[in-house]
Subunit: 418 residues, 2 copies
DNA sequence: TATTTTTATTTCGACTAGTGAATTTAATTT
DNA sequence: AAATTAAATTCACTAGTCGAAATAAAAATA
């Protein structure tokens, strides 16, 4: 069965191939790659660097000389030689106290901040409890101001030492423009957050949503460091996700969050706060558990507990054998398995990291949930996707925000030394 | 509430930041970017190229001179000047007949092939019906040989004209190694397909799975050309997906396909051929529709129709008002909505393209399904994700395979001219 | 102890990719 | 015919990188 070469589908002269150049055209200059490699390794010799980056020894000498000249790297005197003949390699390390950044996580009930130096060392942390209601931009910025004061005091730095600030907050955040179309923290929509921040504090601000912050934290400080493609899932008030592809945070084409919490795991399922039915979040989030808890615990409607207290009670009941309390967690766990399995099937990540506070409810993070997830994924003979659960404290989010600021600052500083 | 700067979480000297360099270090050389831009545009002037790629006029002259010298580009005499003063720009175009490639799609019942020149023009196509049973590697390669002969004849080329071959086939295909861990077309697992092909035909082969081929086709020839991040969903025997991120095909960390068909849309739902329950495929694929069709059409088990005939009968019945036939399609459509919505929520693509043969069942591709999908996604004020449905013929898959071969060949040819 | 071996680093000439300003070219408009 | 305009070319110059040879600093060996 032959079809003649009808050129019917070849339009006049349209060409072929992608019309847009790939963004990776902006490859980082070698100097920056070297700097980042040294920072990533904590300490590295020139020779090791040539091997890792595939450059010549001559280049290593020249480029590290530039970086040392610029005061960004230094040679380390204390060489802990282990063995070997030949001239001993001299290690390089980042000069830590050239620049300082602050990373901040804003959430409804508490803000936290971390101050780090240019090598990523934490010099101080601070947290600030706040009334949990939507605020005006001015109020939030005042709270941020207080927090910055606090962390500067702890780390014994002044505001003029700070080169950049990173902030992560929940809601819909536009990283590019630094605006906040919507956030539970802010009373008004469409705040021009970054612009107001920069005007008020005179500090460069990098803003992003909280799931991306956590993902960045895993990429910079956590288990994601050694992986180039992985997913981070977090269960807090909602269910969030971040994705790293080719060692970079993937932000989506329209800059929206990656809303794992609103993927549908059940047609016409439980009601979600987003107004739809069957969202994963509607089975997992604290409000979802809380509303079932009220039923399971036979609380009279008069006796109103805070959602947090309700959850704690529910968890205690489940632990002590209350069947209906257990089924709540068990069902949540099953749907979590489905959500995770869907992520694995769609992305084929090298690793999936489950991170967040809700870790305490170990029904949700039981071995059982993970193995159910593995059962729900096809592996086709490949080794199964790795899973890690991290019960970081609050500060990890703020650390992620420092990573955002650090990476942007590094770009800038390195291109300046030319 | 202040916490002192406890450096407890800062381990001895671990450094911070990603340990792996981003793959984008291998930025394409300017010459290649120019060539690809000209090919993508079909025809482009030097000045336009400088604007698009942000290079200087001097570089444009020098680099295009190299490419012309190497015989890859040529100046176009016929300048259709529209208006304007000044020296008229002279357009450049790809010299099409420098290299030729063949793209092949292998499937259970039919193989197809396309022969294109270096500019991506189709010079000939061929299709070959085959018995639909698993075959030995040798049998498949014989069929491929026949197909290559056919398309060479049509295009009046000889095998020595061919610089590379791309093949797409269903199953689990390892693009990197050119091996096929499993495929419905092959009787044995773990075939060393590419190696055997190259030895037998003396042609360089690039192999990938069929969903990736289709995605590449959309990226090179279809609606994806102008988008840098999009998803392609295809419904054939199964449900496949491909993803383009930053103008590149994303292949996943473990090189597995992106198995949209095996994401779960229903806990303990319909039985899938993969052995699990609730997979999207179990509601959408032809075998899933066929098994329900048997019930809905009240066929006695004795009367055995081919799956294809069964589906056609089902479709006809639905069209003519058979309620139970309609519900089959309607349910499938709803689950398709869910599956698509989940992709949009997880990836936030700029565009989602639905492509494939099953287009004829317009219940599945109805406006209704798309709008249901939109209802199932949160847009948070952003404009909704675009959706396009393409009812390409069989040849689009093979065209995608030519794109695979063309892009690899281009890399090679351009680096050679140095 | 002096010499050899080994490994890390530096130096230096060469080459490549690219820029940017001045110039040339080829058209249109006046 | 001159002025204007835009495209393309020329050319001197820079940054980045390689690779080979030279140098440096240690361990091993004679």
């Amino acid at each position: 069965m032959l079809t003649p070469s009808t050129d019917d589908d070849s339009q006049p002269r349209p060409g072929c191939g992608p019309l847009l150049p790939t963004g990776s055209a902006n490859a980082k200059p070698m100097r920056q790659q070297i700097f980042e490699h040294v920072r990533a390794a904590g300490r590295a010799t020139r020779t090791e660097t040539t091997r890792m980056l595939g450059i010549s020894a001559g280049s290593a000498t020249a480029l590290t000389a530039d970086l040392i000249q610029a005061g960004l790297l230094r040679e380390v005197e204390t060489i802990p030689r282990e063995a070997g003949r030949g001239r001993p390699a001299v290690a390089l390390e980042v000069v830590a106290d050239t620049y300082f950044v602050i990373g901040i996580k804003l959430s409804e009930e508490m803000h936290s901040a971390v101050l780090t130096d240019f090598a990523g060392n934490t010099l101080g942390t601070a947290t600030l409890s706040t009334p949990p209601h939507p605020k005006s931009l001015d109020e939030i910025l005042s709270e941020v101001g207080t927090l910055i004061e606090m962390v500067l005091n702890i780390a014994k730095k002044s505001q003029t030492d700070i080169a950049a600030v990173g902030i992560g907050m929940s809601g819909i955040v536009d990283h590019q423009s630094g605006t906040v179309p919507w956030s539970p923290l802010l009373a008004l929509r469409d705040s021009d957050f970054a612009a107001h921040f920069e005007e008020r504090f005179g500090l460069r601000l990098y803003l992003d949503n909280d799931a991306n912050m956590l993902t960045l934290a895993e990429l910079w400080f956590g288990a994601g460091r050694a992986k180039s493609d992985f997913a981070v899932v977090t269960i807090e008030h909602g269910v969030g996700m971040g994705l790293v592809i080719d060692n970079r945070l993937y932000r989506g084409a329209r800059g929206m969050g990656l809303e794992l919490g609103h993927t549908k795991v059940q047609l016409d399922g439980a009601l979600c706060r987003c107004g739809q039915r069957g969202c994963l979040e509607a089975y997992l989030a604290d409000y979802a558990l809380a509303r079932e808890a009220a039923t399971a615990l036979h609380h009279p409607p008069s006796e109103r507990l805070s959602p947090k207290a309700l959850l704690d009670a529910l968890f205690a009941q489940a632990k002590s054998g209350n069947e209906s309390a257990q089924t709540i967690f068990r069902r949540a766990g099953r749907y979590l398995s489905v959500g995770l399995a869907n992520v694995v099937q769609l992305f084929d990540p090298a690793l999936i990291i489950i991170s967040g506070e809700r870790m305490q409810y170990d029904y949700l993070y039981a071995e059982e949930v993970i193995s159910e997830m593995h059962r729900l994924t096809l592996n086709n003979g490949r080794s199964a996707c790795g899973v890690e659960t991290h019960a970081w404290g609050d500060l990890i989010w703020a650390r992620g925000a420092t990573a955002l600021a650090l990476s942007a600052l590094t770009d800038q500083v390195i291109t300046e030394i030319s």
